[in-house]
Symmetry: D2
Subunit: 304 residues, 4 copies
Amino acid sequence: MPNFQAILNTIYNDTVKATDKGNVATYIPELAHIDKNNFGMHLKTIDGKVYGIGNYNTKFSIQSISKVLALSKAMSLIGNDIWKRVDVEPSGHPFNQLALLEINDGIPRNPLINAGAIVIADILVSNLENPKADFLNYVRELTGDQSIQFNEKVAHSERETGFRNFAAANLLKSFKNLNNPVDEVLDFYFHQCAIEMTCSQLSKSFFFLANKGKCVLNKTRLTKTQAKRINAIMLTCGFYDEAGEFAFEVGLPGKSGVGGGIVALLPDHFVITTWAPGLNKKGNSKLGMFALEQFTTKTNLSIF
Amino acid sequence: MPNFQAILNTIYNDTVKATDKGNVATYIPELAHIDKNNFGMHLKTIDGKVYGIGNYNTKFSIQSISKVLALSKAMSLIGNDIWKRVDVEPSGHPFNQLALLEINDGIPRNPLINAGAIVIADILVSNLENPKADFLNYVRELTGDQSIQFNEKVAHSERETGFRNFAAANLLKSFKNLNNPVDEVLDFYFHQCAIEMTCSQLSKSFFFLANKGKCVLNKTRLTKTQAKRINAIMLTCGFYDEAGEFAFEVGLPGKSGVGGGIVALLPDHFVITTWAPGLNKKGNSKLGMFALEQFTTKTNLSIF
Amino acid sequence: MPNFQAILNTIYNDTVKATDKGNVATYIPELAHIDKNNFGMHLKTIDGKVYGIGNYNTKFSIQSISKVLALSKAMSLIGNDIWKRVDVEPSGHPFNQLALLEINDGIPRNPLINAGAIVIADILVSNLENPKADFLNYVRELTGDQSIQFNEKVAHSERETGFRNFAAANLLKSFKNLNNPVDEVLDFYFHQCAIEMTCSQLSKSFFFLANKGKCVLNKTRLTKTQAKRINAIMLTCGFYDEAGEFAFEVGLPGKSGVGGGIVALLPDHFVITTWAPGLNKKGNSKLGMFALEQFTTKTNLSIF
Amino acid sequence: MPNFQAILNTIYNDTVKATDKGNVATYIPELAHIDKNNFGMHLKTIDGKVYGIGNYNTKFSIQSISKVLALSKAMSLIGNDIWKRVDVEPSGHPFNQLALLEINDGIPRNPLINAGAIVIADILVSNLENPKADFLNYVRELTGDQSIQFNEKVAHSERETGFRNFAAANLLKSFKNLNNPVDEVLDFYFHQCAIEMTCSQLSKSFFFLANKGKCVLNKTRLTKTQAKRINAIMLTCGFYDEAGEFAFEVGLPGKSGVGGGIVALLPDHFVITTWAPGLNKKGNSKLGMFALEQFTTKTNLSIF
């Protein structure tokens, strides 16, 4: 067993001195003023040990990381019926491109690109009694932490400026792949993305995916097979147009968000979360990717 | 001078006996119940003579034909500033594809595809005091006919089902190529498309484009150069993905609408309008295209 | 009747003083060393009068202009069977893109993009006894000038460097839309493009398209309808991704080549040819387009 | 440790009774007459044990499976310089599409699509003294088996009919991403694909990728990091437009070929090879995918 805390300390020191920290996302105005000097890293092993460094207890906007949690909830609700409405292939394109949606007659390439995540949101709106409250509660239960909240300002900010998501939702609607009204689905979706969590909370919330479907409270959330499949989707589709690069450099299933977070995991071993708000050109956390590459190189722990 | 009335009569007889009349557009529910046995044809020559056959005095929804009239109004209001926001190239794709909009950073290929027409609508909303009333008045003045109206049911029907137009407008907004709120621009756009006119009225309303910019009331609406340029755009872009076919078979600048209308013109000679509600696979009036091809073949009058 | 010679003189003076003359095509090495200060213009009216200015008697490589002449020969040989193998729609893309060919199952968008012209070349190779000699002879007869030749160095230069054309031809072959061996078809195609002519010769060679199918020797080369259709194709497809711009600014059917030539015509009125080797970003002669825009503006003669 | 032989036996019995066995590839004429009732499966564990069932000792054409071996050789020769010429992202498109190559300025999306594999072939042609003989020798050494051969008839068959590969190679050449002549690179590439091996030989030849770079003869062929990265590329890019599906259903890095073979592996645990010539619509072995899905389900051994 490697000395995880020592490794995190070394990576922290190497990471914070980087001069090029990428750029904070500006297309959601509320996220534009986050200080890109923030850096946190948190590891939770399958036997329950935790390790942290830097700002791992600071809340940030989880954004697209929420897509994995939403997918897990949809899978627990309707199972394989999901795959009638969304595919599981990498998109081979930037995260916001609508062209493939047109080519594929309204079937999004996978549930982790925006169009696919909007279909998943539609499924949750159809199948949850109080969609926003129920989903927030699900995330709290996964994490064992009742303090998790939506940031309403961020949700509102996305509603005012998320024109591409309105475009995608309307296009899905035109292909009859959205059952609820656009505004209702996107209200849910913008709230889902606007959940705020810390690195520590995110490691806990994804624990069930490293643990054959059982969450931190030892409750079964998904079957082993379902957990395995979500991990497969994260590996092939979790990083927009950089999924191959992340698999190649890091070698773990994971998911990034434009808030600067990344959660990655090695099944049966650990969950690891980083937060560094500066993004690279493809929209993934620049220092987060660097730190995770260092981690799998130094520990020699990856799925490959 | 050919005997125009005799030619129209012959074409009428050949056309109405066609067994394959195409299919009425169903994506706008209000248009789905139009009888596809309707067929009208109307010719107005530059010296003011008029010829008609069939249902040339029946009102129908002009739909995309309105894009030419809207473009002419925008041109008279802001001139060449239009071309900062929309290009003049054929799209080479079906009329509703969003892919090219993404490739071209939010600049629609031309003002006669939906995305381009929505930008023109945005220009009119910005530059007219009472956009809907003022535009309707403009069409009435072009035609010299105060009876022309919006069909509110059709406008409402499109608002409820026009998800692709909402997708296009939101995508334009994300590229900052829409200055007014999406709902306001599309409310205008759906009304513009929902104007009802007869073949006879349409021939009058397009007269200024065949007449160097002077309308039926002998009032200058555009400069000669502007009229010439709109004719050029109609020829290269007026028939969705069938512009080349129309130029090849008919050889006149023109514009079709999914309501089954087509207006075409020979500069300095005539305007001709057909109405046949059944569409071919590319969304243009099947019998209208046939009738116009017959007309230019029999009269030997085309721009080529 | 305008004073054509005076107009040509004025345009010449305005054109040659332009500081930005565009850039000579470099992808065909043999064309890279042409002096971009060359400028010639030649007009031939339907009644046989001719007007010239500048280097209108200097030979240059006609390149893609040859595609129109090849199309006319194919049309005279197999008529409408051409349209089983190539469409007549503008491509909406740069002249060398293969993507659309894949989307359309190997049917090129039109006969004036490279892929379409290669299909036409294949038709001529199948239908002419001695393809290169017979085609050269056809061009000589159209022009009434036996001195016209291939430039073998240019043909050879294209063979050595025309990898995109080899890519297109092989792709056509994979879709079974090329009947003869790739090397044989491209040898013909590269020679066809490597014909050298002067502005004066080009005006003569295109005369039949302005003259209802009858060439300068008063021999019928095409039916009236065929000539009209080639003109329609030139208008919608003759300028790569700038066909709309040319229709909009100039308003004549025409065809450009990367050698810097442009031929345009007004049916029943005239043929006009320009030569200026510097190209704009879209691959069309920069000063040629300017000069032709000036010509139709000053004479008020266009199809619109 | 599961009873591997019993599991293979069970899978064999379930697989051979399938009524829909897919279709044998017909685009390479020499492969069209293979009997699709063939089915073989072979497992080699990291500790050297082997298990086989069915036709696991019958030779077949490895086709695209060879791309992984070629990549490993190129990596050992020039290391990370490979990535200047080819990317590591999934293509999101069928294996033979050229469109993405144009969009990405001649840089193939990854080394396992045809265009990328042709670039790798070009690297080998540049860096091996006797490319074909040296590469064959490399495969023999990896496998510890000197009997492995090219099937010259298959190589010849591809040369006569592989027009899409000629198109891709010429397109790469036009982007200056091919240093050697097209014919020379494709002669190498067609031979590489025409190697014939059995399931048993393939399991041996891929052993080094499951074994941190050391081959069956205990010789180091790649560094641990290089082996890990090839595994990452196989997982994200190894199955054309079905990579996500394979990761989702099977959960192992692997590579398929149109000859009906699939090799997959679990790092530090085993290599498994299947052969079933009938392909599904996406070009992957239909029964091979089924058998591998059964294997990871029954053994619960996958990277996720």
